[in-house]
Symmetry: C2
Subunit: 208 residues, 2 copies
Amino acid sequence: MESSPERRLTDQGRERKQQILDAATVLFASRGYQATRVADICAEAGVAKGLFYWYFDSKESLFADLIRSMRLQLRRTQGAAMDPSTDPVTRLRAGVEASVRFMADHAAYFSLIESERTDESLRPVLSEGGEIYAADTQRVIVEAQRAGLIPDYADAQMLTLGVIGAVSHFCQFHRNGRTTMSVDELANFVAGWTVRAVGADDRITLGG
Amino acid sequence: MESSPERRLTDQGRERKQQILDAATVLFASRGYQATRVADICAEAGVAKGLFYWYFDSKESLFADLIRSMRLQLRRTQGAAMDPSTDPVTRLRAGVEASVRFMADHAAYFSLIESERTDESLRPVLSEGGEIYAADTQRVIVEAQRAGLIPDYADAQMLTLGVIGAVSHFCQFHRNGRTTMSVDELANFVAGWTVRAVGADDRITLGG
DNA sequence: CAGCCTATTGACCCGCTGGTCAAGTTTGGA
DNA sequence: TCCAAACTTGACCAGCGGGTCAATAGGCTG
């Protein structure tokens, strides 16, 4: 019931912990958090139940770990996605494409957070990120509006929600097999879709 | 463990059943299906636990009942939404606006189906509808493409997914309070968003 | 009133699952 | 070589929660 104050892990320890984390990711993604039993995770990871509680305080704390570690990775990847020397619409495009690719690569993770969004006990952990991503996006959009590339009588916040939503739901459809597009095609299509929706259409591409 | 072969209900019986159904809707929507206990539902409805099993075979069967009855209502409402004598883009607009309004009116229901989409045991019931809605939408889009109102080098199916996704995720943001727009404003905005994204922009409105 | 069906209760059952623990093994470093 | 800490196990526990049931009340029909 404690463990938090920095337990020193050996190489083997770190490996085992990751092993459990991986097993949990797979199971959470396919059955959801609630429906996944600690025993299942241990079986999947091939370790005894007690070991779970050597590395994690609780099932919920493992979940938090999972989310946070993934978020770190996501943020890093996204950071490198947009070239600051280009114009905002180009950056928006690039950001959207990168996000789509990233989400496709980490399908299991995103299907997890998507499904567990309404879980009362998990809400805090889940919502603590995400606003950051929104802020990033909104910044680009406002910049584009200032540069006259996007009509500025539309609410920037709504446009932001639209972009984020579009990326996430197209990826969701991709995960569910509702579309069989390749990731490249998808990324391109979604970029086109959002640029058009946002009102920055230069009429050059309609993606697909 | 049976009950299905048409139990005859008195007026009072029907009322009680609905009462339990309503209680379940509220709780499912706010905590999710898994996290809601049968005892909670009974407490909310103000009846004893045994009564639950007088009217329903199981928690899962209540859920199925809920979904099916709601779907019926939804389909009826949507049927009346679009005026067949207008052009496809106008109909698309109208359909989107009507859907947004409907989803806002039935927020509890949609937040429920949205959150429980990944639940293994519930998937069959959940997915048995939904394709119908997609088919309706796609028909309008294809029609618009034939009429030259939407560029036809874009994949109609992808555009359909985009429309459906946009409606559902904007409504989701509305439910979560991520936007404080009124339902009317929202409906208008989403209609504008989708029309632009789909490539049918007549440059008259950018919503908001 | 008698018989039957619906309606309603709450105590009870039992399997499941998150979490604990005492006991044992391995590893690392002094 | 030896100690302590990291690691690993599986049996065990307690409470929770879905589902059951016997008992009772009430209402309709003959």
